[in-house]
Symmetry: C2
Subunit: 240 residues, 2 copies
Amino acid sequence: MRPVTALSASPKKAAARAPSRAGRSLQKGQQTRAVILEAALGLASHMGLEGLSIGALADVTGMSKSGVFAHFGSREELQIAVVTEYHARFEEEVFFTAIREPRGLPRLRAMFERWVRRVSVEVDSGCIYISGAVEFDDRPGPVRDALVGMVKAWHAALHKAIELSVQEQHLRADADVDQIVFELHGLILSLHHDARFMRSPGALARAGVGFERVIHFYASPLGLEIDQARKSPKNGATRR
Amino acid sequence: MRPVTALSASPKKAAARAPSRAGRSLQKGQQTRAVILEAALGLASHMGLEGLSIGALADVTGMSKSGVFAHFGSREELQIAVVTEYHARFEEEVFFTAIREPRGLPRLRAMFERWVRRVSVEVDSGCIYISGAVEFDDRPGPVRDALVGMVKAWHAALHKAIELSVQEQHLRADADVDQIVFELHGLILSLHHDARFMRSPGALARAGVGFERVIHFYASPLGLEIDQARKSPKNGATRR
């Protein structure tokens, strides 16, 4: 399966190559960039993408403004780099671990469970996708385009996993794939809202119950059987 | 049924009384306050509550900063006034019209449909509840408290309508009321996200399909029958 988006070469990969003098300088530059980006991700999680500024990052990293500026030529470039890095981590945690599960319901379930886990970790820090969607919903431009592109990529990955569940005959042939994506996303948004904004307990369990309802509504007899086997302790899910 | 929150006396009511000189002055003050508040609502819908400032409002209304300041002593007071006014309008449009429907599924359905309609109008302007939840999710203080209070009041009204649907035996006795509130709210959040941020068509219909799925899952045989009668052209819903 194709990754959701191509990841740019990471500083770690560059560091694995034997460095020449020019290489070392490049490597150091990439490390500094990674340090700034890490600080920027932290800031954006708490303050939103609009809370990012070259000045605030200089403060946090103890660098000069011009030092930060040398790596990210503008606030917009910085915001896009944060969105891209956030997406790469989301993919790593949610998508690339879930696609190890067998096609069909096991994989779809793994995607949803890891997504829920990610959001529940973010109850304290905030989700850049969700806050970014509100910050940039009526601000056209490259940052909004980057955010929309990332969300679309994730929705496409969910779409594909649901389609495969239909192909594997775990979900009924008439299952409305877009409708399922819409409803699963709603459960995640409701979880984020209730847990982070309302601080109301029980939201995590409710997202899980909602998922079961959606799946059982669209499941085929085979799908229900597989799901039942998953719950029985004697039958562990087979992994590829 | 109790209103979700008590509304403060409106300028219109004050205007209905015969004015003395002091009364006329008070009346004019209230009218000016209403003009500023109207402008503030417009600004906050587009820019968020954090986009509000005494200066920006002075620009929009053509008043002096000190003129605006005379009516709203601080930015925070202004933000709270906007939240309260927004909530009063939401109640007026969504809640007070829906409670005219008979108790049970007809009323619950009316609440959801008017909520959807409100959100779909706000696709162009933005919803202060949804953007406010993201802006203030980790900023403790009176503005956050006001927002949380309003959302809680609306959730309580939904909760009550679902409970009445159980009492009227339209929903099954074992229906999980908090779970239904959670899922309906998720459909609204997904609608707002897809329509406003993703600009994707079809979100409105998906919210409706999601509602039917939730209701049919929890409906009693009587509830399904009432719902079926509603769809038949011969049987108009009886109104109290």
